[in-house]
């Protein structure tokens, strides 16, 4: 356990500084002659080791918010801060580097590469980052055993169950030891029992490594088990 803690944990800040902060985010789409306001002044702070549940109806803008927070989309106004550093002025190359090193994503569907084993899938982002194969394999194996998949690391995604696939996807998302984990309905495709099991693994990982996690879910049971619950109301974020 201590060995896992050493690879997964990060130095905790003495001051409580949000890892992820969204300030006055606006995002709208043109719709015919009019304008579709999806986010209009969304504010949010997520702290180290914290799990925030985002629960809102379909079409409310949950995925849009995650895209903005994950630097996949630029907001029309407002800014995203990581460790209180504003990211709005960064060019594409630097945004890519932040995505690579600071942000992990998990989706409803695992999107693992079918031709590669679980271990190789978790190695992939580390190889993209430029680590050696040996280093990447070592950390990938640690993460997979942390996710209780040590025995299955040489299986391909098609040889794994839905819950196992999703746990591999979570391991891959944190392979580069990011500061932030963004998940869009990570258990949306799983039965309730498996969903809880996968969520347990994810929550343990977030707490052990001091990640800031923003998790979209439609499952109220899971939302209850997180630290805070927020929703989107007329493009703004409100706690409930």
């Amino acid at each position: 356990m201590s060995e896992q803690a050493s690879t997964l944990s990060r130095p905790t800040a003495t001051k409580r500084v949000p890892v992820l902060r969204l300030a006055g985010i606006e995002r709208h789409y043109k719709e015919g002659a009019g304008r579709l306001n999806i986010l209009s002044g969304a504010n949010l702070s997520v702290y180290p080791g914290e799990l925030v549940a985002l629960v809102a109806p379909s079409g409310a803008g949950k995925s849009t918010l995650l895209h903005v927070a994950g630097l996949l989309e630029k907001p029309d106004a407002g800014d995203v801060f990581i460790d209180e550093k504003p990211l709005g002025e960064l060019n594409d190359a630097n945004r890519t580097i932040i995505r690579r090193l600071q942000i992990g994503f998990v989706y409803q569907f695992h999107h693992l590469l079918p031709e590669f084993s679980a271990l190789e899938n978790v190695m992939m982002p580390q190889l993209i980052r430029g680590l050696s194969k040996a280093e990447a394999a070592k950390r990938a194996a640690e993460l997979l055993s942390y996710m209780r998949l040590g025995e299955r690391k040489d299986h391909r995604p098609s040889e794994l169950s839905g819950g196992e696939q999703q746990r591999v996807a979570i391991a891959r998302a944190v392979a580069n030891a990011p500061r932030i984990l963004l998940a869009d309905e990570p258990t949306g495709n799983l039965d309730p029992t498996t969903a809880h099991y996968v969520f347990d693994a994810l929550a343990a990982l977030v707490r052990a490594s001091g990640l800031a996690a923003l998790i979209v879910t439609h499952n109220m049971d899971l939302a209850e088990r997180m630290d805070r619950r927020i929703t989107l109301n007329a493009g703004k974020i409100v706690e409930f």
Partner: protein
């Protein structure tokens, strides 16, 4: 058992259906034989009947050789350009929503609905001696009409949609998921394009390239207007075939035509292989 006894065999309507299907299949096969197989067969037989030596002899007259060369050069220029254009257009249309997207789609497909000869005339109006840019081109000693640039332009126009039209439905179907995941894993734009987008569309892309190539080599209408049909200089292979035919050089015409027919047959085989690959991919 009683069930079977009580329900009479429904062979009546079903049989009629089967008969109808046979009839339709029969008609299709007959039409295929008359319209496609017979002429292709005749060309190959006619070309072959003179013996292989004579066949090669007909092909190696200097005019025919020059025509084959010109067609190949045209394809070597046009196919890569239209491949790049097709990828770019399909990428923009399939992966983004932007104002003018529908218009771009319509423009990309326009060459399919314009008669090639009309396209040729249009180029003549723009680049010809009496055309819009004629005086300017003359003044700068630039020759576009009745020369390689005109042939390339006309061929480009006619074959512009081939790659794009293969890729648009494919890329629309695939959506942005894979690209997005690659971005979240820290891949940058170029990596995403070359390692995710391109591999995903490779068979469809090859398919479009093969069709584009066959059409460039075979294009007659548009090229016949802009080339000026100068023997041994601006005659592409299809134009040369027409010329040989008008010269009553039947053997030469059939030999040259068989070259294009072989290109078509090779295209057909490659097309079938690629279709099987595309089928596997899904």
């Amino acid at each position: 058992m009683s069930m079977v006894a009580h329900s009479p065999p429904s062979a009546g309507p079903a049989r009629r259906l089967v008969d109808g299907r046979r009839l339709i299949i029969g008609i299709v096969l007959l039409l295929t034989a008359i319209v496609i197989i017979a002429p292709v067969g005749v060309i190959l037989i006619q070309a072959g009947s003179q013996g292989f030596g004579a066949f090669l002899g007909s092909l190696s007259t200097s005019d025919t050789r020059a025509a084959i060369g010109l067609s190949l050069v045209t394809a070597l220029i046009v196919v890569p350009i239209n491949t790049l254009f097709g990828i770019a257009a399909a990428w923009a249309i399939a992966k983004f929503r932007f104002p003018g997207r529908k218009l771009l789609l319509a423009i990309v497909e326009l060459p399919f609905s314009v008669s090639p000869i009309v396209a040729g005339i249009a180029y003549l109006f723009v680049y010809g001696g009496q055309g819009l840019l004629g005086p300017f081109l003359d003044a700068h000693d630039l020759k576009i009409m009745f020369a390689l640039p005109g042939i390339v332009l006309a061929s480009m126009f006619v074959t512009a949609p081939f790659v794009a039209r293969e890729l648009i439905p494919l890329m629309t179907l695939q959506g942005n998921d894979d690209e997005e995941v690659a971005a979240t894993l820290g891949a940058h734009g170029r990596q995403i394009f070359f390692r995710v987008t391109l591999p995903n569309i490779r068979w469809g892309l090859l398919y479009g390239i093969v069709l584009c190539n066959a059409r460039v080599l075979g294009e007659f209408g548009a090229v016949s207007i802009v080339s000026g049909s100068i023997r041994g200089e601006t005659n592409t292979l299809p134009l040369q075939i027409e010329l040989l035919y008008h010269d009553y050089n039947t053997a030469g015409a059939f030999a040259a035509a068989s070259v294009l027919t072989l290109v078509a047959l090779v295209t057909l085989v490659v097309k079938l292989i690629l279709e099987a690959r595309i089928g596997e991919g899904h």
